[in-house]
Structure formats: structure tokens, C-alpha cells
Subunit: 249 residues, 6 copies
């Protein structure tokens, strides 16, 4: 069930049976010569929407489609939120969902660079309750889609060499499966991109000439993407159920 | 051309011929018994995406899908940003796009409640340059989709009675055209909803029992939605061209 | 009754009979070659003070004398608040007045450029209550003095040509009536100023060489100002009474 | 010369001969049974306006009429800014004046409770330049009107007993001189109010039943107020001249 | 008793007998050619730790070791917080301590430049309660170590000439007593440093070539430091007891 | 070399030979029945100070002694900064050090709960430069002391069972070595504490009755602490040298 394509009475009815909601969250940032700028928000959206088709228990909020990507700004098309802005926005999304009675708010993340800020945002929200010596009426959980049970292991089997950490063949494969009309190709030089630290945008572009980090996106295929989505969907449904069933002390 | 389905080299190439980008912006909020929660961001997204299919000159950024909707929070499914958060986020989106060399940043808006905060956000951004006595390298423009040339007049012809101001038949018609599988029906009581002021969420729910303001959504049809989209798309393409052609003094 | 010239026991006594307060709010910004820098805060102050002389029901707070005027900064004498600062300040004024038991807080505005930020500020305040699922103990209302019943119509009759939108003959006439010792004159070239968009300060000065927008201030006279004040005062007293009488749902 | 009653060309002309501007700054807060709520902003305004009548060198900005008065909020009529808001607003006023080329920005203060926040605001502004390793193009100065040369000594002679620290006979005398139609009287019990620490608003009201601290306002007369104004005006003109003449290292 | 070297059950036990805690607070900033960069946080730490050795009633929190020192940034080693950051941090420290049930939170300060911001921070915290019309469950107190009973008088006797206001012989003497292995020497030219206003960092360095203001640090000795510490410790223990015994109205 | 016990000319001299500085950063929070509240800032301080004794190349800034510990607030003695405050403070520390010419700013961290916010703070700082399309003049690095080469492996050998994740025997051992007079003992029940998620403070206390997570602090000894410090110091000196030698692209 997609929240944005539902009415408020439908959400009211959903809340009568489940208090769990999943928010796809990612980033809109360069993904090398062939990766889509939307890769990091499209992947969790694809997986969450697919899960919602398979289970009536899965309610998917609109996708939070920009994140923390300051280091990619020297490549055209990147749009990002500063961590302070990102935290404020996550706070407002979460407070809104919490106000409706959702007690389990699950962020399915598609961008490694988001992790620190999302966790900091959770702490910022919990801190309001801690200072007031109150229980927080909801719990938040962050899960990267590649950390869903079995997904990373599959990707390592699919791409034993050249997976890397940015513009990876696994994420590109997922978008190829989801958007087969938007598959792009290029010659990669070098075949496997370099790796190193992440700092400000000009430093990033100086280190990573075409935007990739450690990856060989040429390995991606829509079929491999479909396998990854399949594994992720099954695991997501289980993980959401477990989170929803969790009792609080 | 959809930015999220493009690569950074494609955006770099686009920038060589045009410096204009359109950002669909809306809200995720209750729209009465039958309106989709996503109505206000789906409408500008539908129109902008349709325009991008018709013209190579139209580059569409990802949709900014939550906005200022605090008054709707007492209806399940609403997600909103406080104005201060909304302003910060618009600022970061705009600074990101500006950094790539876009000089004309056009927000196609789908929610009346956003207007004040978006304009305040523009002023906040311009003020940085004003304090530094510098020219701002980009211009921002806000346009509600119903204010595109000819659109509101068409809606008034389509719905001479019962258009109202929230959960209107025109916006619902647009989403019916865009999402024909998600058309919902209900009995409306009263047929035309009441009108009045907008204050905090509990006040709003006390005044507007089912969430509508002054509207009769039963009048919406996908066909009327298609007509509205057609008019909006033609006018949007013209308005973007005019904005892009505008010289600065 | 002027709040600043009252004592706290007098305000306590006033609150026993009325919970309504009016705050004149404007801007301190250039108004062309002859308009006073204070025009936009002097006009609502003149009108509100005059109303307080005529009715014991009218309590006037001190004037909020700076607002959102970043675009005028390239003209000497302009002082402005960024929207984020302006919102914070309006919030503190309002929370202060609300703490005393005022339930109807009415901002009589003198600057079009303030409207967006004031409305955003109202939403920011209401949002605190919406997130907490509480009723807001007070209602806020924004009214531009020229939107008071009959005022704009009178101005259109007085100045059928050359009214414009900044440094207008109507606002200048009001200050001429209020401050007859501070009437300034100049040759205007062109007689009627140009119009166009509003962006950052240097852009504004490049477009509007002497600071006017679309106006011919030479048309202003103290007499016309007196007529405008008379109309505004009568309408303000009625509008305040209606706002004060409004019940909440 | 009053900035608000001037035009931008007049301020431009003033800047050609002087770069100094004075901003009256105070607070709108309870001042005991008989003190005006505006006392703390009226006093510096009265003094600065009087100085501007006597010297062409004295340019007076609009009055900053609310300040840091959280402790007075339990008495009706008090309006205050939180220190964070107050600092932001002082910053925007100062940056605006600095943008016009004023190099000496002088705040004539009427409220002891403002001092800490104003000084913190100055530091916040200077810090922007310090972090950037740049010279700040303007200097700021804070002066309480009672600290102007000779003023406090005069007040101690006028009111050797019962001056106190809030709702003092000296500040009330100044407003009696400035607003002779708004002189209020009451029986004070006790004659001289108690003193003690300042904390949150309910604590303040519990300690200081009628709002005074250590003062006997019955001692105030318009004549004594006139003497204080006279002394303050003479000293202000000198102090402004000295500040304006100060060279930077 | 040092909080950082205690366990939470020990603090729980302490709270059963006392609700008072002292927070040494200072700054890390240049102190002339021979003063330690940590002088301003070391002095209150030395005094508070010594007091805790002498009285079981004295509980000392960790030292807040950076403060408002923007003006010293042009000298290497200075680390400072902007006032807005400093206020936020003081707020979080205080709210944390208040959450544990401390009702008397005493800041022993070592830097004059901190005073304004710390007081503003107190007001910011109190304002939260004032706006909500609630009692604040704790009281805050700021005391500079040199303002402890008898300390400044002793310093004036020790250093009748050349005490000055920054890099003073008294503060340097205290650190010499506390850190006898870190005593530095230099030739001072001039012997007594100049005085003047404090503005941004480059202005400061232009005025005060070696960082001192009005002082002759050559006068400092560890013995004089020991005398100052002795006086301060005795007075601090008394002052804390008096603050702890203070009843609220 | 300890920055706080140095003078500014000494830091100026240090900068002539090295641009690297290490900031110990931790948290002041409960560490179970026997762990010191300061454990998380004492550990990196102990290690960094020891390293500075062994190498003239190691310059240690004052310790940043509070961090993100909202979840521990239900245990007395915990003091924490909200992530937004923590980020602002890290920003000001870093900008200060950067202003002096340090190009490598190394945070030696002692608290896992800090990692997300510190990384978000780094991104916030880098983003300023990314938006301005400028190189950041300094690089920041975060290293947990247990992640220094060989340290965690040693801890796993020392404590193969019962290490856990909070109030671990390794961190307690380090403080026992550093503060042998502050070793506390208690009966632990259960011997090894439970594990689970981290949410707001009341949730934390409900899950972890005495504050430990997964650990058996009874295993700690000062000798094991000494071994850990020895390993950490050697690795820290190497890691700082490598960071200092790193060239930017």
C-alpha cells in the first residue's frame, strides 16, 4: 500500500491493524558516467514498492529523495541537504508520522553517506523525550537495503571483483531492473575506479575523475538487479514484521 | 528529460544548451475522503513529466514531495515540514542547483499552503547576496500549476460550482488522469464542503469534518483531468521558455 | 489605548473586557526619492493609533518596525530582517501576547513584502500545537491596511493612474497626513516608474533606478492621506470587533 | 535627523559627511504599578530624538522596541525576544546598517536586562569576520543611557534613597517628561520594593509582587526627568562624536 | 567529589544529600607571551577541584573548557564557540544536570568574555519556562572566580600596578601554582600592555601586539597564585553553601 | 605537547613544523555500577597525553568532554549535547583550529555514540566549502581509540568473553590505569549485561537496569589497561604521522 496513493480514511483503517510504516530514503547525486542521478532513492523505492505489492502489511510513505551528498556537488545534477537541514526534515517527517499513531518508523536507506546524519537525526528526536523524561511514543529504525538479510552476500557473489562503494554494479543493476528504458553505457577508464577518503566536493572530483569509487558498473545487468530486488523484498517483509512485533520494555 | 533518470554527463550536456530547471513541489496531505494523500505533489509532477516528454528543453528535477501542511495533521497520512525546515530545505536544493550553473530555477507548485513559505525561502536566499552586496547568480520563480496560463479559467468552466479550495475537483481530476488505478469514491456529506479560516490542526479538523474545504470532488473525472494537464503542459513549456529567455539587468 | 503608554494593571483590566490586540507591523525601507524610509511602519501605526483614539476597544501594541526588505538594501537607510529572523521575532511577540491571555492577535501590516513571511510565521507557531495535538490558545490574523474594507477602492479612485506597487501615492499620502512636517518633493523621471520582478538588492537597484515600482508619488497629498486614514480607521474598528467576536469551533 | 522620517537620498547625503548612526534599543515590559510598559524603549528614544534636534550630526535609526524581558512575562503587557532571537535581529539590523557604509553603530540602551544579549550579539557578528580572518567594516558600541557622562550621578543626587533597579524613579521621570499626558499614580506598598535575584517569570512575580525592584517610583517628577534628559543629551552628542572620530588600528 | 571520576550510583547518593553542582567554565585562548592557552579554564578548575578536596559538599562537573573568545582568534591556539553555539551548549549541559534533580547549578567562570553569553544562555533557558508559565526546577548562578569574596581585593594588594584585564598576573599566578612545570617566561615590551576596546580578531591583534591587555604578567609567582587559590577556595565553599541553602519563593 | 599548557608563540612555532593536531573527544555519561562517568573522554585523553609525552610531533588540544549521550540521561551524572548542538560546537572548534593553519585535524574519539554526529559535523563543515565551490583548507579525521591499529585485537584477546559494547572492561581498564585511585567495585547481576537497541533514555534504563550493555566490567585490571594504552599510543603516533603526510589531490 502506497501512502501517497491512499486517502486518509484508508490510512486510518491501516492504523487499526498495523502501526508500522516504511520510508524509502536516499539521495540524488551523481553515480558515475552511467549511473542515474536518482540511483540512491530509486533503489529503496523500487524495493519498498515491490514489497507493498506482495504484502498488505507493507505501507510505504513517499520517498525522501535527497540526502547528504555534499561531496558530489562538483558533478552536475547532485542536489543535497546539509546535515542540519536533513536532520530537521527527518524530524518533521517522523513527528508527523508519529502524530498519526505509527509506533514503528522504518527508514529503508539507499545511500551510505546518509547513515551518520539519519542516526544523528534519530538521536535528536529521542533527546527531546529524554530531556523531558518521557517515553518516545515511537521507535525508529534505519536499514540500508544492501544490509537486508542475504542481499550483500548475493551482491558479493554476483560481483566478486569491482563492486566498490559508489556507483556500484549492484545499485546500478537494481535501477536497470526498475527502469529498463534508462540504461546508459560508457567506456570506463580505468575499469575499476580508485578508492580513498571523502571530503569536500572539489577534493572528491580531484580524486575520482568520473565520480565512481572502487566500482566497475559495466558488470551490472537488469537480471542481476532483479535477483537483488527479489532477495531484498523477501527480507524487507520479514524485517518489517519483526520490527512491528517488537515489544517495548 | 528527468534529472533523476539522467547521468551527470547528460546534465552537463544539458547545461551547455539551457540553464533552466523545473522543480515540482507540493505537499503530502489529506485531500478529503477520496483525494489521494499525494495529490499536491502528484499534480505538478504529472504536468512537469508530461511537459518533459514533449520538449527537450524541459529538465525536471526530482519532486519535492512534502511541504507546509501543519493544519492537516489531524488527518492520518499527512506529513509536513515546519516553515523553518521547509525554507532550509528549499535553500539547499536551490544552492545545489545554482552551484551547477542553473540560472533559472522554476518551482512548479501544487499546494496553496506552500506559497508563503516558498516565497519566504526565496527572500532568505536572495538576502545572503543582498547582505554581501553581490549579484545572485540565479533567479527563482514560483508558479502554481493552476496559475499557468488558461488553467484556472478551464477549471472554472469545468467546475462552475463546487470547486472550492481544498480537495478540489480539478486537482483530483488531474490525479485521476495520472493514476487511473487509484480512483476512490465516497458519499460526500454535505455535497459541498464548508469554508473558513485555517489555523492549527485540531481547529482545522473541528471545522472541516472530512477534510475538504468548499469543494465537491464528485465532479472530478479523468477526462477533465486530461484536459487540465493538456492546458497546463502547453502553458508550462511556454512559461519556462519565457523565464529562460529573461535577461538580467 | 496604547499598550506602551499603559501600565501592567491597565492591561490586566483591559483583558478583563477584551482579548484582542492589534500589532502594527511594517518595514523600514527606501520609498523612492520622496517617500519616508519609515513609510511602511508609519502607515499602520498612524491608522491603529487613530483607531485607538476613537474606540476604547482598540488596544495597540508597540509597532514592529522592521520587516522583510532584502531587495531594498542597495538603497541607504533600509534595515531588514531575514525571513528566518523575522519569523522567530514574530513568534516571540505572539507567544508573549498569548501568554497574557490575548486570544485574538491581529497584525495590521504596511508592507506587501512582509506577507509571505508573516504567514509562514503563523504556520510555524500553529505547527507547535499541531505536532503536540493541542489547541492553540490564540488565533492570529494578518490584514494589510490597504485591504481594510473600502480602502483600496478609495485609493483606486484617488489615483486611477500611477498608483503602482512601491512608493505608492496612497502610502505616501498617509504619511503626509501623519507627518506634515516631513513632506519631501522631487522631480520624478520617468513620471511613472517601471515594474517587474523582485530579486536580490543589486538586481532591484538595477531595475528600479530611484527605488519606485510603477508609482507616481507626486499625486500624493495630505488631504488624500486623511481620507484614506478615515476609511481605514472605520474599517479597522469593525474588523477588530468581528475578529474578537469570532468563536472557535 | 530621524532615519525613518528621511528619504534614501537624504541618508546617502548624510553618509557623505558622517558614518555614525545611533539605534535606541530597549524593552517593552512591566514597570510596576505606574511605570509605562514602554519605559525602557521610550527613554532612549526620547533622549536620542532630543539629541537629533540639537545636532545635525546625530542620525537616529528607528527604535528597537522589544528586548530580553523573559522574567517580566508574568505581568500583562510584557513582550520579549528570547536571547537567540534578539541576537539574530540585532545582527540583521547591524548588517543592514553596515551594508550602507555606517562604520560606527551605536546602540543607546534603555534596559539593563538587554546588556548581556546585546554584547553577545556583537560578538556573534564580529566572530563572522574573525573566522574569515577579515576586518569588520564597522564597530559597534553599547551604551546605557544612565551610563552617559553625568547621568547616573545626577540620578543619585535626585534620588539618594529608593532608586532601585527596576521601575526606577529616574526612568519613570524621563517618560513623565516625554509623555506628560501619560503620568500614572498609585499607592506603593511597600514604599521601597524588595530586591533579589532574577530568574524565570513565575519566580519573579513571586518575589516582586507589583513588579518593582528596590525602587520608589513616587519620587519621579517630569522636572527631574527633564534634567536627566538634558544631561543625557549633552553627553550623548559628545559620546557619539568621540565614537565617530575613533580611528581603527 | 569530581563527577567525572564518580559512578552514577555515587551521584545518585550525592543527590540524596545535596542538589548543588559546580561547573568550572572558561575559555581556551591566548594569554600573551607567557600565559597558558588554557589559563581561563584551568583557573576555575584548579579552584573547584581544590574545594572538592576540602569539602564533601562540593561536587564538581567536568570543566567546560572553551568559551567566547572570537577576539583572540588571530593568535594561534585559541579555540572558541560563537555565542549562539555557546548558548546552545550551556543549555544542554544545564538541562542534563537539571534532569538529574540538581536544583542549584553554579558556573564558576574564568573568562570575562564569557559573562555576557552565559547570562544570555541563562535567560534563554528561563524563557522556556516563562513562555510555558511554569516554574523552572533549577536555579543557575554565574560567579567569576575573581569575584569570590576577598579574591579581587587580594589581587589588588598583590598587584597594585599592572594587573590589567587580560593575561593578568593573578590568573597566571594561579596556573603557576597549579602547573608549576609549565611556567613560561619572556621579555615584555612594553612592560605594561595597552588597553582599549575589544572587536574582531584582526582588530584585536592590531591593538594588542603580544595579546596582553593592560597587564604585566612578570609579576606573577606560584606563591601569589597559591594565596589566591586559598582565598578563592574558602569563599567558593561558603558561596556554594549559601546558594544551596537558598529557598525559592 | 599539550595545547592548553602552551603559549601562543609556542603554538606558532609548532605550526612552523607541523600542521596536525589531535582533539580527544568523548562523552560524560554513566558507565554502569563501577565505570567512571568520565570514561569516554578520559580514555582518549589518557592515550593522547601519553602519546604527546613520547613524541614532539603530537600536539593535543583540550579534551572535548561531552558528546551525544541522550540515551544515558536516566542515570545520574550524564551530561550530553543534542546532535545539533554537538555539530555546531565541533564546527566552531574546527573552524578555530583551521584558522590557525592546522590542515589535519584528528579527533580521537572515546564514545561509539558520538560517531554519527561527528561524521555529520564533518559533512556540515565540508558542505560550506562545497556550496562555495572552494577547497577546504583542512582535512578532518575521526578515529575511535579502539580502532587504532592492534587495539581491538588486543582487547578481544584480553576479554574473549564479556567485552560487550558499553561499560566494557577494556575502557574501564584504561581508566583504572590512568586513575588508579578511582577504581570502583561492585557485584554485577547478571555477570554479563544484556544487549539490544538504543532509543530514548527511559527505554534505555528499562532495558539495561544498571547501565551496562553486554559487558562484564569485573574483568578489567589496571595492568590490562596499561597494555591497551601502550598499543594505542604506538598506533596513534603512527596514524597521526600518516595523516600528516597525506597530500591532497
Amino acid at each position: 500500500m502506497l501512502l501517497a496513493l491512499s486517502t486518509w480514511p484508508e490510512i486510518e483503517a491501516f492504523l487499526a491493524k498495523s502501526k508500522t510504516v516504511v520510508v524509502p530514503i536516499g539521495s540524488n547525486e551523481q553515480h558515475g558516467p552511467t549511473g542515474l542521478l536518482g540511483t540512491d532513492w530509486l533503489c529503496p523505492e523500487i524495493i519498498a514498492h515491490e514489497a507493498s505489492k506482495r504484502s498488505d502489511e507493507v505501507l510505504v510513505a513517499p520517498t525522501f529523495n535527497v540526502g547528504m551528498a555534499q561531496h558530489h556537488l562538483a558533478f552536475p545534477g547532485t542536489i543535497f541537504l546539509r546535515p542540519s537541514t536533513f536532520m530537521a526534515a527527518i524530524g518533521d517527517w517522523t513527528r508527523s508520522l508519529g502524530a498519526h499513531g505509527f509506533t514503528k518508523i522504518y527508514f529503508l536507506n539507499g545511500h551510505g553517506g546518509n547513515v551518520a546524519t539519519i542516526e544523528a537525526a534519530f538521536s535528536e528526536i529521542y533527546a527531546e523525550y529524554s530531556f523531558r523524561k518521557e517515553r518516545c511514543p515511537f521507535a525508529m529504525k534505519l536499514k540500508n537495503w544492501w544490509d537486508l538479510d542475504g542481499v550483500n552476500a548475493l551482491a558479493m557473489r554476483q560481483f566478486p571483483v569491482g563492486h566498490g562503494s559508489h556507483a556500484t554494479p549492484s545499485e546500478i543493476a537494481v535501477t536497470q531492473w526498475g527502469y529498463p528504458d534508462s540504461i546508459k553505457t560508457a567506456e570506463y577508464e580505468p575499469k575499476i575506479a580508485p578508492t580513498g577518503p571523502i571530503r569536500e566536493a572539489l577534493d572528491f572530483r580531484a580524486r575520482y575523475a568520473d565520480g565512481r569509487m572502487g566500482s566497475d558498473p559495466a558488470l551490472a545487468t537488469p537480471e542481476k538487479g532483479g535477483e537483488l530486488v527479489e532477495q531484498a523484498v523477501v527480507s524487507l517483509i520479514k524485517d518489517l514484521a519483526a520490527f512491528g512485533a517488537e515489544a517495548r520494555p
